[in-house]
C-alpha cells in the first residue's frame, strides 16, 4: 500500500436528515440492521491497507460514535502500526454555516502536519459504497493529476442525490465544474465527496479556502483552483447511496433488500466490519411470517414482516404486520400493530393495536425512545 492518511470527512451543514440527525451525527446512523454508516468508509480504508485514519466528529455528543469505532480494532486496523483517531473541532456557536469541513481540518492542522504520510484520501462518512483505495491511489499517481475526484454516473439525478454535487468533466475526464445537483437532468456525474491528493497540497488548499471565505468548503476551493491544478475524475462502479436526506436513507435500506444488489456491495474479499453486541440468534415463534426481510440478531418475531430491515434486539409481537419498514435496534412493536413505510428509531415502543401507515414516497418517522 502506498503511504496515505485516510480522512473520514464530516458531513456538511447543508446535509440534513430530518429527525434521525437530532440524535447522532449521520455517520453514526444505523444501517441495514447491524451497521453504522461509518463502517463503510473505514472498512474501505482498512481493506485498502490504510491504517492511519482520522474520523472528523461534528456532533455535540460523539459518545456513541466514539464507542462504536473505538481504536479501530473492529476494522482490523493494527493499533500499533496504525491509528484511528476521532478529531474534534470547536463548533462555532454563531451559525452553522461556519462549521465547514475546512474549519474542522484547520482546527486540527498541527496533527495533520505531523503525519508522515505522503497522500491523503478524503472520503465521506455519509455515503455507502465499496471502493479499493489502493487501486484508486495507484491510478491517481499513474495519471499524474494533482487531485483525483471519485464520481458515480447516474441516470437518476432528477429523483435521487439531492444536496449532492454534480461534476462536469471534459473528454479527458478533466475537471470543468462542480455544482449542487439541481435535479433537472437525469444523467449526471455525482461527486462522491472523495478526494485524493498529496497531504502537502491538501494543507495548502485548506489554508487557501479559509482565506477565500470563512464559510468556504473544500468543494469551493477545488472549484476556485481548477484552472491552476490538474484535477481529474475517476468513475466508480457498483452500488452507491448518498444519505443526504431522510428519503435517501429509507431508499438505501430498501434497495439492499434485493439480494443481487446486496451481494454486490458485500463480498467475501471486501469485509464490511462493524461492532458486535453479542446478541443471540433470532427467535421466530410459531405463527411468525417473514418475507423479503433482513433481520439482525437478538430479535424475537411472532408477527408478520415483509420487505423490511429489522435491527438488533427488536421484538415484533403477535398479530402485528410490518411492511416496508426500517425498525432500528431494541424497538418493540406490540400486538396487532400495523406499520407501513415507517422508520422506527432505536428504543422506541409502538403500543398494541396502533396503526401507522405512510406512503412509500413519504415514509414516516418514529423518534428514538418514543412511546406511541
Amino acid at each position: 500500500m502506498e503511504d496515505a492518511l485516510g480522512i473520514v470527512a464530516p458531513a456538511g451543514g447543508y446535509i440534513k436528515v430530518e429527525g434521525m440527525q437530532e440524535f447522532r451525527s449521520i455517520n453514526a446512523f444505523s444501517f441495514l440492521g447491524r451497521y453504522r454508516l461509518i463502517d463503510f468508509p473505514v472498512s474501505n480504508l482498512s481493506n485498502s491497507g490504510i491504517e492511519r485514519v482520522q474520523v472528523y466528529v461534528t456532533s455535540e455528543n460523539p459518545r456513541s460514535l466514539a464507542e462504536h469505532v473505538g481504536n479501530g480494532r473492529i476494522y482490523n486496523i493494527n493499533s500499533k502500526r496504525g491509528r484511528l483517531e476521532m478529531m474534534f473541532s470547536r463548533e462555532s456557536v454563531l451559525s452553522d454555516i461556519y462549521n465547514t469541513d475546512v474549519k474542522a481540518y484547520l482546527d486540527n492542522l498541527p496533527i495533520i502536519e505531523r503525519c508522515p504520510q505522503k497522500y491523503v484520501i478524503i472520503t465521506p462518512g455519509y455515503m455507502v459504497f465499496k471502493q479499493n483505495f489502493d487501486q484508486l491511489l495507484k491510478a491517481h499517481i499513474d495519471s499524474g493529476a494533482d487531485i483525483s475526484l471519485l464520481y458515480h454516473k447516474t441516470s437518476h439525478a432528477d429523483t435521487c442525490y439531492r444536496n449532492c454535487y454534480t461534476l462536469e468533466l471534459n473528454r479527458q475526464k478533466g475537471f470543468k465544474s462542480m455544482r449542487i445537483n439541481t435535479g433537472i437532468e437525469a444523467e449526471k456525474n455525482i461527486f462522491m465527496d472523495t478526494y485524493i491528493m498529496t497531504r502537502e497540497l491538501f494543507m495548502e488548499l485548506i489554508v487557501k479556502a479559509k482565506k477565500l471565505s470563512s464559510i468556504s468548503r473544500l468543494t469551493n476551493i477545488i472549484d476556485a483552483e481548477s484552472e491552476e491544478l490538474d484535477i481529474r475524475g475517476i468513475q466508480h462502479k457498483g452500488f452507491f447511496a448518498a444519505i443526504t436526506d431522510f428519503k435517501a436513507y429509507f431508499d438505501a435500506n430498501m434497495h439492499l433488500l434485493d439480494m443481487n444488489i446486496a451481494n454486490s456491495l458485500f463480498t467475501d474479499d471486501w469485509p464490511i466490519y462493524t461492532h458486535t453486541t453479542d446478541s443471540c440468534p433470532v427467535r421466530y415463534r410459531p405463527g411468525a411470517s417473514v418475507k423479503k426481510t433482513m433481520v439482525a440478531n437478538g430479535c424475537v418475531i411472532e408477527g408478520s414482516v415483509e420487505n423490511s430491515v429489522i435491527g438488533r434486539g427488536v421484538e415484533i409481537k403477535k398479530g402485528s404486520v410490518v411492511k416496508n419498514c426500517v425498525i432500528m435496534g431494541h424497538s418493540e412493536i406490540g400486538e396487532n400493530v400495523r406499520l407501513e413505510n415507517v422508520v422506527v428509531d432505536k428504543w422506541a415502543k409502538v403500543k398494541d393495536n396502533n396503526k401507522i401507515v405512510f406512503s412509500e414516497d413519504k415514509p414516516g418517522y418514529i423518534k428514538r425512545m418514543d412511546i406511541i
Binding site: M259, C280, A296
Partner: protein
Amino acid sequence: MAKNNMLAMVLAGGRGSRLLDLTNKVAKPAVAFGGKYKIIDFPLSNCANSGIDIVGVLTQYESVLLNSYAAASRIWGLDSKDSGVFVLPPREKADSGLNVYRGTADAISQNIDFIDSYDPEYLLILSGDHIYKMNYEEMLRYHIENKADATIGVIEVPIKEASRFGIMNTSDNDRIVEFEEKPAKPKNNLASMGIYIFNWKLLRKLLVADIKKKDSNHDFGKDIIPVMLADNKMLYAYRFKGYWKDVGTIDSLWEANMDLLDEASELDLADPRWKIYTEDATELPQYIGENAKVSNAYITQGVNVEGTVENAVLFTNSCVEEKAVVKDTVLMTGAIVEEGAKVTRALVADGVRIGKGAVVGKAGSDSILLVAHDVKGKGE
C-alpha cells in the same frame, strides 16, 4: 488477578468420540452450538462474567482450531492488560520429553509453573464441554464462607439416573463425606459437574505427591478427591440450579439445540446480564426471502432462507433454498439445503450440501441422523 485472586483452568482436551464425524477435525469444546456459539464459549464467557482474568485452556487432541480460537482472548473481553486466555497443550521440557496429559490432575500438574507465575490463592477447574451459565464468583464466595479446602459444583439428578454420574455423598450443610463414581446403588442425587475450586497451595502439594504415585490415574475424581476425603479435608458441595448439559452424543447435541426453541428452557441466551460471547461473523444479517416460510426457529446472522423452515436451528451461513423443507433439524455452519430437498430429524454437519430434491432423515425416527457428508441431489 487483583480482583478475586482466582485463576481458572479449563480442561478442553476431550476428543468427544461419541460425537462421531463432528470431532474428526475439531476437539469437542470447539464443536458449534446454538446457531453462532462454540461449546467452549460457555465456560469462557462464564469466567469473563465472573470477574476471572486469567484462564488456562488445556488442550490436547487436534487442537489447531481450538488453540487459535481460544487464544483470541478478545472474544470474551479477556484481552485487557493483565488478563488473558492461555492455551496450554502438552510440551517438551528440560527434564522430560513430549508427553500427553495422562489425566485431569496430570494436566494441571504439568502446568504448575504456569499457575505459579500468577500466584493465585484459588484455582478453579472447569470442563470445556458443558453448556450452562454459572457465576463462579458466587461459588468462590460460598467456598470462602465455608472455609473449605475444596468446593465441588454439583447438580441434583433424578435418583434413578444417579448411577450414571459421579455422586457426592454429603452430611449436613452439604459437606462432602464420600465420592462414588457411577455407584450401582446411589445414596445421594448430587452429581459432580466437574467444577472444582481448590486452595492452590494445598492442591499444589497434593499434585506434586500424586505425580510420583505409580498406581494413580492422575484424575481429580478418582485420585485427588479421595485423598482429600481420607485426609479429612473440608470439602463442600455447591448446588447449581439451572440448565446444565453435557452434549456427549449426537442425540444430546441435537436436543440441546432444540431446547433453545423451548420457551420454558432455563438456558436464556438473550439475557443481557449474562451474555455468552463468541467470535463475531463478518456477515450480513440473516435474509428471509420472498417465498420463505419460517416458523418456530432459531436462526443466526448470515443465514439465507428461501424455503420452509419449521422447528429448526440454523447456524451461521447455512442456507435453505427455494422449495426446500427443513424440519426438526439442526443445520450447522455453512450447511446448504438445495432447491426442493427435504431434511427431517437430522443434524447436518458443517459445510455439508444436501443436493437438489434429496430427501434426508424421517419423521418419528428413533434417533437423530447425523449428516456428515454431502448428499447428492436427484439425478446428480
